[in-house]
Amino acid sequence: MSEPTTTTPNGAATGSQDLADPAQRRALMADVVQEPGSSKPDPILTVDRIQRHFGGVTAVDVSHLEVQRGLITALIGPNGAGKTTFFNLITGFDRPASGKGAHWSFNGAKLDRTSAPKVAKAGMVRTFQLTKALSRMTVIDNMLLGAKDQSGESLAKAMFKPLWRDQEAAVLVKAEELLDRFKLLEKKDDYAGSLSGGQRKLLEMARALMTDPTMIMLDEPMAGVNPALTQSLLGHIQTLRDEGMTVLFVEHDMHVVQHISDWIVVMAEGRVVAEGPADTVMANPAVIDAYLGAHHDTDLGDDDLLSDEVISELHHEADEDEARRAREEGH
């Protein structure tokens, strides 16, 4: 599936390097300025001046953001930073504040006023942080629904099985493969409503992958998934990336972020506050301060940590920005 390597300098328009190669990826992003809103060699998603307010709270206020094609980009930021709202906006599940000149495009096509299904059809598929399993359908049916362009889904052809039998069989094979990888094959004939919290996350992700997206947007895909499985799934996601898929994901597990992301975007208070490769971003004092915390890599088992200072310190770190926001809200 991977495209042949054509060495365009910076790969501006085509971006057709072999992104399976970590070195190439690093090289690709090497020239990119590490500051919020920097331009990428071959952006698949470009967002401009997008804002969303909820009764005085500015949930999202992104003036410019580009997401590089073919890479895994992580979107991190404190709770309530606006990550999910940002996802909602660009996938058509929410509408940005009007009159701000909001504009965004995906794969060259304008998306400003496009409805959610159209966005998905265009190849940008998202998952939900709070999972949405189709409870009274089996796991496999959940999966089959994901597949795109099924001719049997058109009312005109639905009644005539020969018209869609073959496609259905192909889709089924693919679904079972994915389920197997997500450790859900055993559950394939169970109702999705009977899955455990983590299993629902898995199903949500697997179902989104059924659509063969050009770009997949995962909202905390690994929250609640057990570490061993997380690890193997990350491998899968990397393979998909290597096959050309673009990934944008929100995640709070820094190991996951560090492990697979090629690029990290940090959001806080609705704004993009930093961008860059993992090591640089995670070393950024502001990020550590507001997001990671000083004890990020320490062992919490130590009872010394239970001193009030540590707590208040932690507390302070996390609350600083929130307190600021609260003050802003007050006005």
Binding site: T84, T85, F87, N88, F93, D94, F128, Q129, L130, D219
Partner: protein, 439 residues
């Protein structure tokens, strides 16, 4: 031959109706026309409510010959029997009329040159001449448009408040359990029925009866929840299934009412209430009482819902019963309270509805307003009790105002529903409902 027979048959009837046929002046109330033989010209100078006594009435035939004449008695009636078909002319001597009344000219087709009224007569028929006698200060216009509107608004508020009593409960049940209870309307009927039994049949004092009815209706809520809804919830019965259960209950209740009370309308209280006039508004004193009670009852419920933790607990239960239990809330108890409150309110509403709006109670009284109740609940935003109140008031106003504002009478409910649909298009979550977050 047939005529004779008829005559024979009529004799006893005539005797019954006409009583003592004494002097010429006191004619029978109705002259009896016999097929093919006679015809009658009869009518009233003035009218039945305002008859003119002492008017001289003359009937002439086409040739102008007087057929008969008489002077009206206290009931203003006159009646002539003729034996031939054709045009006759009725003449009233204006001199014989009192000064404060005048004769309005008849329709052109009945006008004759000499000021008399043409009366086309067919055999076997009774014809009433087009004689219109009115007092000179007669005003053809009724109440002014503004007054009509104000009166309708008052009636709309009355209807709305009483609907609100029921719809708030419906909304509470929906809000806490998610159940659309189609038998709620029968709870309203039940209120009226129990009150009928206690007050009309049992002879209880009105106020005592109302209180007792409310209590009994509340008890039905308790029993229902105890025996049915709670076990069903325990078994995890789906909401649609429960909805069907309410449909079954409604069916059973309706026929039980028919079984025990009969199919005709019954009065809660056989009494005509005094009419109170406040400006252009004219309503019975009981209507004002009903509105007051409704307001107070809804106020109390509103207070409980908004200001007490029980009220918040109902919302918590509706959001997430398992979590509510995990917070120490006795979910079953809260739901039972809601059922009791809802059925008691519906019962109270039923009594007053029967007292002042429908002037009686019938097995299908509730069923007739079921849709209005649902419309009210939806209009205000599903599951918000205050919304149901506002919705009910709006529905009440729309129903009462539709007529005066020009909608044909048989569409007044339809108008209320059209408004509902239009509103939902503009504001899908209802007036007071909140939009929910996606993702």
């Amino acid at each position: 031959m047939v005529g004779v027979l008829l005559g024979m048959l009529l004799a006893p009837l005539l005797a019954l109706g006409l009583g003592a046929g004494a002097a010429h002046a006191s004619v029978p109330t109705l002259c009896l026309a016999q097929a093919g033989q006679t015809a009658c010209v009869s009518g009233t100078v003035g009218n039945r409510t305002n008859p003119v006594e002492g008017a001289d009435v003359v009937l002439r035939d086409e040739a102008g010959t007087e057929v008969d004449s008489l002077t009206t008695a206290a009931d203003g009636k006159y009646s002539f029997q003729v034996t031939e078909a054709g045009d006759y002319f009725l003449f009233i001597d204006p001199e014989s009329l009192p000064d404060d009344v005048e004769i309005i000219p008849p329709a052109p087709r009945f006008q004759a040159e000499d000021g008399s009224i043409r009366v086309p007569v067919k055999l076997g028929r009774t014809t009433a001449p087009d004689l219109e006698v009115r007092s000179v200060d007669y005003d053809a216009d009724g109440a002014s448009f503004g007054e009509q509107i104000i009166q309708s608004v008052a009636q709309g508020l009355r209807l709305g408040l009483l609907l609100a009593l029921a719809s708030v409960g419906l909304s509470l049940i929906y809000g806490t359990t998610g159940l659309s209870s189609f038998s709620h309307a029968e709870q309203v009927t039940l209120g009226g029925m129990v009150a009928y039994g206690l007050i009309n049949v049992g002879g209880l004092n009105l106020w005592l009866g109302i209180v007792l009815t409310t209590v009994i209706c509340g008890a039905t809520g308790y029993i229902q929840d105890r025996l049915m809804w709670q076990p069903l919830r325990r078994r995890g019965l789906g909401l649609t299934q429960m909805m069907i259960v309410t449909i079954g209950l409604a069916l059973a209740a309706q026929y039980a009412f028919q079984f025990f009370v009969g199919a005709s309308q019954q009065k809660v209280l056989v009494r005509t209430f005094d009419v109170v006039e406040i400006g252009p508004v004219r309503m019975t004193d009981m209507s004002f009482v009903a509105m007051g009670v409704a307001l107070v009852a809804i106020g109390v419920v509103g207070f409980v819902l908004l200001r007490t933790r029980i009220g918040q607990a109902t919302r918590a239960v509706s959001d997430n019963p398992a979590l509510a239990a995990a917070s120490g809330i006795d979910v079953d108890r809260i739901i039972r309270l809601v059922w009791i409150a809802a059925t008691a309110l519906a019962g109270l509403g039923g009594v007053f509805y029967a007292l002042v709006v429908s002037n009686g109670i019938r097995w299908d009284t509730g069923m007739q307003i079921l849709l209005l109740l649902f419309a009210a609940v939806t209009l205000g935003g599903l599951g918000t009790a205050f919304g149901a109140f506002v919705g009910a008031i709006i529905i009440g106003l729309v129903v009462e105002l539709a007529g005066p504002l020009g909608a044909p009478g048989d569409l007044k409910y339809a108008v209320a529903l059209v408004i509902l649909i239009l509103l939902l298009m503009v504001r899908p979550q209802g007036l007071l409902g909140r939009a929910v977050r996606v993702g």
